[in-house]
């Protein structure tokens, strides 16, 4: 196998490792649209990264985090609902990204590459970044797993039992921003949320506990990356969309699995 294919496979697996468990929390806490809003900040992050000569993944992470904090603070106002607020901020930040890109005459940003991802261009430096991020995300999840889970289950109960709810919510935004920053390299900003939520959604019917779901989601993500990449090379189709289609296929197939435990009640 050629080197660029191995690097692509490695990058995809690294992104799936980070996205698997984080995606479970996005599904549990119904934050899919929140994730989509964050992904709209990718373009502005990339453009600013080029302007300031920072690594794009790092710039995207910073802008996503900034947007997440804005959303968190603005959630408390009561003028518009949260979904309208997400819509406003997501498109404002996306429009800002387009404007900044238009200003950059000397550097031609490969817009398509960032919109749809470019897994086959993953370099050795990218691999380090992706696996470093995946390791950090996994370590943070393991460290605060019980608190994160308590907050996802019931915030009042968690607060009463001494979980620092606000800090845990912030930690989660941090992790989500990191996953979006590395995921956009693989499948692009338009599909990165799919890499996060589809494997988690596909895992739901196969499991009985949150821990099993995190593992299954990661495994489905890795399988989707491998199969999608293979299909891309075989039929010469774009890799990012192929990965998302494989994951969506697994999700569709998972719908035929009966929900665990129900049979016990009917006995």
């Amino acid at each position: 196998m050629e080197d660029f294919v191995l690097r692509a496979l490695g990058g995809g697996i690294g992104a799936a490792l980070a996205a698997g468990p984080v995606g479970c929390f996005v599904v549990w806490r119904r934050m899919a649209y929140f994730g989509t809003a964050l992904a709209h900040a990718v373009l502005l992050g990339v453009a600013l990264g080029f302007m300031l000569e920072i690594e794009p993944i790092v710039a995207v992470f910073a802008i996503c985090l900034l947007l997440a904090v804005c959303l968190l603070l603005l959630e408390r106002q009561r003028v518009v609902s949260v979904d309208a607020l997400l819509g406003v901020l997501a498109h404002a930040v996306f429009a800002a990204g387009l404007v900044v890109v238009a200003f950059m005459e000397r550097v031609r940003v490969d817009l398509i590459g960032y919109l749809f991802g470019d897994i086959l261009s993953v370099g050795v430096g990218d691999l380090w970044l992706i696996f470093g991020t995946a390791a950090a995300v996994t370590a943070a999840l393991a460290w605060q797993w019980s608190n994160l889970l308590a907050v996802a289950l019931n915030q009042d109960l968690a607060a009463a039992e001494g979980v620092p709810v606000e800090r845990i919510r912030f930690l989660f935004l941090f992790l989500l921003a990191a996953v979006i920053a590395v995921g956009m390299k693989i499948v692009g900003m338009l599909l990165v949320v799919a890499l996060v939520i589809v494997p988690a959604a596909a895992a739901r019917r196969m499991v009985a506990t949150p821990e099993q779901m995190a593992v299954a989601s990661t495994a489905i993500g890795i399988a989707s990356v491998a199969a999608g990449l293979f299909a891309s090379l075989l039929w010469d189709i774009p890799a990012g969309p192929a990965i998302v289609l494989v994951a969506s296929g697994i999700f569709a197939a998972s719908l035929s699995i009966p929900v665990r435990g129900r049979s016990r009640r009917e006995g």
Binding site: V27, W28, R30, S146, L149, A150, A152, L153, N154, D156, L157, A158, A159, A160, E161, V163, R204, V207, A208, T209, P210, E211, Q212, M213, V259, R260, G261, R262, R264, R265
Partner: protein
């Protein structure tokens, strides 16, 4: 002004105490200089109409919400077991009863089973949380709270979603737990009939504390009567008497008193 609170004879330091707690949501006053205290071995019940601020007061006492003014004093190192009102059980989050109970306080299976026995729940450790009945869920929540060896149990509407036949059982269970473990219990309840039978003190809340004291005293308080109506007050007084009598003589179930609400709900699922 006849509303002076009747002081509890036990002058032990409270486990938790709120003093002059006030809270506003925007322009609306939700709590207005509320005082409340719970001591070890005491069941204190918070009653009041919808929107009286009962759950908000609980959230302030637990430290989930900061009051605008006033203070909440907890005994240092106080272990609290909390059972929130209507906990959403989302099937999107896979969770067995066992995993739910051990979340935040890991314990071996034997301990879990023993606590489930203590609250009279079936051996349902492996069941999905989203699929057990409302009554089972309340018992599981109670068991989970007990697992933390609490000195104070805080129960927000523990009878909500529990069918009528299990309600008196659950109430008796709470009193038993208090007797066995000597913990303090702070309770929010809508069901005044059951409240009046088992509580040590009643705090009647309508943003401010209308009246507080022993159940018999509170029932005759003019503010209680104006809040809940003279009819209910009389019914409860009769109920109180009848219950004392029957509890001593026969120990009959409490289910055919006049005026008991919500009695048409069918019993829980069969096993």
């Amino acid at each position: 002004m006849t509303g002076a609170p009747s002081h509890d004879p036990s002058e032990a330091a409270p486990l938790v105490e709120a003093r002059g707690v006030s809270l506003r949501f925007g322009r609306r006053s939700v709590l207005d200089s509320v005082d409340i205290a719970v001591r070890a071995g005491e069941i204190v019940t918070l009653v009041g109409l919808n929107g009286a601020g009962k759950s908000t007061l609980i959230r302030v006492i637990l430290g989930i919400v900061e009051p605008d003014s006033g203070e909440v004093l907890q005994r240092p190192g106080l272990r609290i077991g909390y059972v929130p009102q209507h906990m959403q059980r989302d099937p999107v989050l896979p969770m067995t009863v066992e995993r739910f109970m051990t979340l935040g306080s890991p314990a071996p299976r034997g301990t879990l089973q023993r606590v489930l026995d203590e609250v009279g729940a079936d051996p349902i450790l492996g069941h999905p949380l989203a699929e057990i009945s409302g009554g089972e869920m309340q018992r599981v929540m109670l068991a989970r709270a007990l697992l933390r060896e609490p000195q104070l149990l805080v129960l927000d509407e523990p009878l909500a979603g529990v069918d009528v036949t299990s309600q008196s059982d659950l109430y008796r269970l709470i009193a038993d737990i208090r007797d066995r473990r000597g913990c303090g219990v702070l309770l929010v309840s809508h069901d005044l009939h059951l409240v009046m039978a088992a509580t040590d003190a009643v705090v009647c809340l309508n943003r401010h504390v209308c009246c507080t004291g022993r159940p018999q005293t509170v029932l005759r308080h003019p503010e209680f009567i104006s809040l809940f109506g003279p009819h209910l007050s009389e019914t409860l007084a009769v109920y109180q008497h009848a219950h004392d009598h029957r509890h001593d003589a026969l120990g009959e179930p409490l289910s055919n008193e006049a005026g008991s609400p919500e009695r048409s709900r069918p019993a829980g699922r069969h096993r």
